[in-house]
Symmetry: D2
Subunit: 429 residues, 4 copies
């Protein structure tokens, strides 16, 4: 048998850090082909908010497959599609007083961002789009133009234009509110920044280093967008579906975006699916104008509908999630305290920032050796990132952080640390 | 319950022509929520070459889900991934003497085309890419630049550049070989066409009207690409995986592309998955340079591997498929004969071209009313397109064409037709 | 003293072929610093249609300078500007029944082409522009992209490279009318060619090899442009101002362009000046939207006005010019005849095409050695190009062609030539 | 006679503010067709640093024209060209220890900026270019896109709009050094700002509102450019040729740019001419790669050479100019003091900034009525701009400022003003 290594292109990435060949998984645990157990603090980069193969979702999927439920459906009407839409409306939108229309733009987050940009350009008649430093929105040649990472941009000599890059909150230090700068540029008819169709922003920058925007800054952004006739698009691909402690990441921030991009965890089972939410008045699409074969992944509809009902339809889930977020915050604060690191992020997407990038790498590698699947993020991969399933058991969270502490101790030494812990300053409005 | 119609964006398309709400499906048959049976001559736009929920593939998937097989895997090594790669090498590549490397660029065909363009630009250091009249390669803002349809391009005012459009075979009539024109443009240092990184071509234009390129023209294209230092990329997203009668559409044409894009039917079950095949010497990717969450859809690996083994690993499948293609050709020829239409396409992707576009629409609508799921293609939707599962029973093929004949008779009348049938001129090399 | 050669960038071009250092010039004669005389068959690439330092124009300029006439004027109203506009209206536009508005877009032809594109995009709301194989319209690249002012950027919402390249007349051989191809592409909603704002075309391609469009083809082009809502812009920068035998190159072709670009010879004296003529209904410019310091070169206005009065205001000039064109045609025909070459171009911009590019170079070099300033053009510099002042004496024309004959004989030998002469097929409507 | 107004396009601009029709001019005085005298504080937007029709330059031009000196010369070697180059080397470059090569990129400043961008991209192999808020570098848009020749297209492989806009010094207020922001963006691999080929910067922003960069900030910019492998291009089109008090605007700032763009005043007489200075090691042009008909305007060479000799070759000119700058500064300071305005700019390009934009317009209009030709600049035209000839008499400067004072008094009233004058903070290194 020919191994993956020799048949696959050099482009593969994750399997370099995590050398095992995985076979099966359940909840927060993954098992490799030799039976070795790994604790999962990566969760498919945020695609597995309810863990691997959750039994309720699995049962729904098995039933559906067994009875020859329609699998591939283009964008035909189907009972699976209707069932998902009904639950999304009843469980997610209606209780939050939201009246978005739904578009299925294709299976990936990049599909969703591209549909949002296309629609914003069409609705406003403008072409410029505002992206932010350290933003990440996918690698398609259109979506890639919004993505900051030069690593991902290097492969595409062309087509990256018509995006103006703005500093995210805090990028210019505490002395200057970057929203003021953005407002000034758009007020100034000779700043060289053309009137934008939209701002596309992540409220927690999942790949860019876990910068978490404050309610104040995000509110200013919405105000500036409206003042200048631009749409506010929230990319909630990684931060949505409960990752920050609420279904949408913007809920505690006091804004209502014009469009919202969801993907990754929306199917609940790790199946490819994305969702664009758009205000009804923006729906200037002609039928079929944005297209794609895999806009209706029925298996994903089935597991997504089951997840909505099982978790978000359960009044107690919010509290469980809040408890888990509090534990995450506590763990991060203690480690930061003990090892002189900086806490980043919020909710169930938090991390520890190292000033020494090499140490971040060493700590990750040590965690992996100890059986913890964990990644880094940030421009220099300097942030160790905790992205476990939202539904892991408290003991699993403790177990994971114990491994992190062991790795930190091994790499940094059992140092007496006097540095002040730097808990993130985020305060909901 | 809120119906799809009110919650979904206006962008939805297929569910307008096919108003039913579908529930389950098996083989070439789909059943709506009222139990109504429909015969499927669309096959998920070519994503269901082995029909809906094929029992062998279904069993493999059920087993995998039941045993908690890893579902979402980023691009981690997994037993499912290895098994697929092993079979693809053993059953597809090795017997054909091909040594491509494999890249999983994301779940959609557009992901695959974008990866191919990026890599071609990187490998050649050039940015221009040659696309063809009536080509269709997806709707992402990068991939969209290659797509001809103004309908799909209208939503994106920007980012469509760096593509030079060339006439497909026959576009300039029989008096002029468009390959000569392309060669002249590239020879002429002042033609205004910059040296291209790649030609991206479909060998049968699935959406553009079922133009089928001849061995002679495709051979010239390969020769011209080589002469001018450009790569030849075959988009086999719709025409591949057996659709034209061989696994790859280029097999009878005597060429070896530098890259091949596969998607749609590659999973065998209609699950989102794509595949880029690239010559080893082109593999200048850095790790992770092309990225995406859903590059490893394990369920798709499982069904894809089962399909390769069950169909392509079976020596008799080639003959069955050839028989079905011959029947398709015979049916098309007879209808063309009787109704004065023109036959387009080859293999199991054929169609009938109407000069009166309204009649094409009327015939399709009549077919749908009679329980046949069927689409049109071409710049003016003037080609009625036959795209059934490759594996349908001979009686189902006959049944489908009987419906088409009834619809033609209803719309066109039982006319005495003296027009010569126009069987496509395709001759394998 | 430091010579040019050491102080100047490597980018200089003409002074490589013509090594002399020139000092003064009159009519069709140039004199170098050693007093050597050269006959000028290049005429500043068509900028000196009335020869060097024509005495009537020179007198007008001297008077103007002597009396402190305003030189640099931005676009202020001036007596020099008014006088030019009055004569242009009275002598050029009114007698031809034309009612164009005039814009002074800056001193260069490229300024003029850019203003035309900007205005066409603004007037039509489209961004695509059709250019032709072997077209030449200047080398500007987009300084605007660096400029901040939204006022100045507003006229160019569209992407700078959005140009679709079409085959010029004859590019596909005699069997296919390229106008048919263009029409088909624009009719076909899936050809990949977006609806254009404008066609920009030279009626004789001065740099591209002296292809001369026929009345039939140009008429089709105008018809196709109108049918598809595009403007027809004639770039008459090299072919205008009498170069083809009439003031505008389109006069014998039966069309009325929507815009006309003039530059090069418009000042009559070789001073930098360009002119955009636009139909009044297209004048949707806002004040100052297209800008530039040197839009009003008063010295050029003065010599241009004098040239209009002296030449075009003189009823006998048309006949003199026709005689000179006939002599040019006769000379070219005879040389083509004798040496088996192909005649290109029309009027006073004609040439001889060599199939052996090296021979073209050798013949040019030999001409230069014999005191004839002459250039080549075409994609491979394969056309020896005759571009003398329109006003040279018949003896000077004879003298120039005698030198060419000597050079041809020296390079090609005194061959017996049986090849049919290929006189250009151009026939005025 | 048809008036300008009816024949010219709506695009004309300056002649709206200055309604007179001008006829002749000398020094700092312009005379309209009725004999009315106007004092010129605009100087052809900085093209007439030595005033209108300076007698020494005029004599040189008259002699040259009279003796049939070559006028139009493409880029042929000529005695006029050599004489200019010799003086530029001897009088400008050598005494300042500069070893730039010279390129004549065409007659306009935009030509020069475009040549600089093309060359920077070619030399660095990068495409991104950094521009600044409120920068102004011309209005050209990309005629090259229409030109077929690959020779001419080769220098511009990059995308035309690939410009990243950065905040100029002071744009973010006094609390933040914008150089720090720029440095951070370029250090951050995920900022979204690609590594630039060049920074293009005006050291005094002539159109953008007379922001004057400090030595400290400009030094940082040079340092940052070098650190990141980018070239520093100074656009000295308006600020060069003595306008700020030294020949180049960077002389007191302690930097040596990699390229310098000169135009406007370089001919000394208001004739169209531009000049690119480039470090010899950057000269990777191929012959003719940047092209254009009017690259050699001999009349401009003649007046430019005369101006260099007469002014910059005279040791006393520096002192005269310094005196004039001091008087300008004194006048501005006093008016700012008395009327509560802010002083902008430096040298002989200074202005007064109004917070009430309407008042700026009213003051300008009142000045024009009183016979002063004067313009405004800035994003909102809020800065009254003083740009007289460098060579005007002290009494003329006093006269002009007396008019400005009268206009200010008329519009703002004879107010008691307690606001602190804000003299610009510029301090040479």
């Amino acid at each position: 048998m020919i191994a993956n290594r020799t048949m696959e292109s050099n482009v593969r990435s994750y399997n370099r850090a995590f050398g095992s060949t995985f076979d099966r998984a359940a909840g927060a645990e993954m098992f490799d082909e030799t039976g070795g157990r790994h604790l999962d603090f990566l969760a498919g980069c945020g695609s597995l908010n309810y863990g691997h193969n959750h039994p309720v979702l699995k049962a729904a999927l098995m039933d559906y497959v067994a009875r020859d439920g329609l699998c591939m459906s283009l964008d035909l009407n189907s009972t699976a599609r209707s069932a998902f839409l009904e639950r999304f409306e009843r469980i997610v939108l209606a209780p939050r007083g939201l009246d978005y229309l739904v578009q299925f733009p294709g299976p990936t987050g990049a599909n969703c961002v591209e549909a949002a940009i296309k629609l914003a350009r069409k609705a406003t008649g403008r072409s410029n789009v505002i992206g932010f430093t350290n933003g990440f929105h996918g690698c398609s040649l259109g979506a890639l133009s919004l993505t900051g990472s030069s690593h991902h941009r290097a492969g595409s000599a062309a087509l990256l234009q018509q995006v103006s890059r703005m500093p995210y909150e805090g990028y210019l230090g505490s002395g200057l509110d970057t929203a003021d700068y953005i407002d000034r540029l758009l007020d100034d008819p000779s700043s060289g920044i053309d009137a934008p169709a939209a701002f596309v922003v992540e409220l927690v920058q999942g790949e860019g280093g876990l910068q978490a925007a404050s309610a104040g800054w995000v509110g200013r952004l919405q105000e500036i967008a409206r003042k200048h006739g631009a749409l506010l698009i929230v990319d909630d691909i990684q931060a949505g579906c409960g990752r920050t402690g609420t279904f949408f990441s913007f809920e505690p921030l006091g804004i209502i975006p014009d469009m919202i991009c969801l993907a990754k965890a929306v199917s609940g089972y790790g199946l490819p699916m994305s969702l664009l939410l758009l205000k009804p008045e923006l729906d200037c699409w002609k039928p079929g104008e944005h297209n794609g074969t895999f806009r209706g992944n029925s298996h994903a509809f089935v597991t997504a509908a089951a997840a909505l009902e099982h978790f978000w339809g359960d009044p107690e889930f919010a509290q469980t999630l809040a408890d888990r977020c509090a534990a995450m915050q506590r763990h991060c604060g203690q480690l930061a305290d003990n090892f002189g690191l900086r806490v980043k992020g919020r909710g169930m997407m938090m991390g520890l920032e190292f000033t020494d990038y090499g140490m971040a790498a060493a700590v990750q590698a040590d965690c992996v050796r100890r059986g913890l699947i964990i990644e880094r993020c940030g421009p220099h991969d300097e942030v160790l990132k905790f992205l476990p399933p939202l539904t892991l058991a408290p003991e699993q969270l403790d177990e994971g952080f114990a491994i992190v502490r062991q790795a930190l101790t091994a790499v940094l030494g059992d140092r007496e640390c006097t540095a002040q812990p730097r808990v993130p300053e985020f305060q909901p409005a």
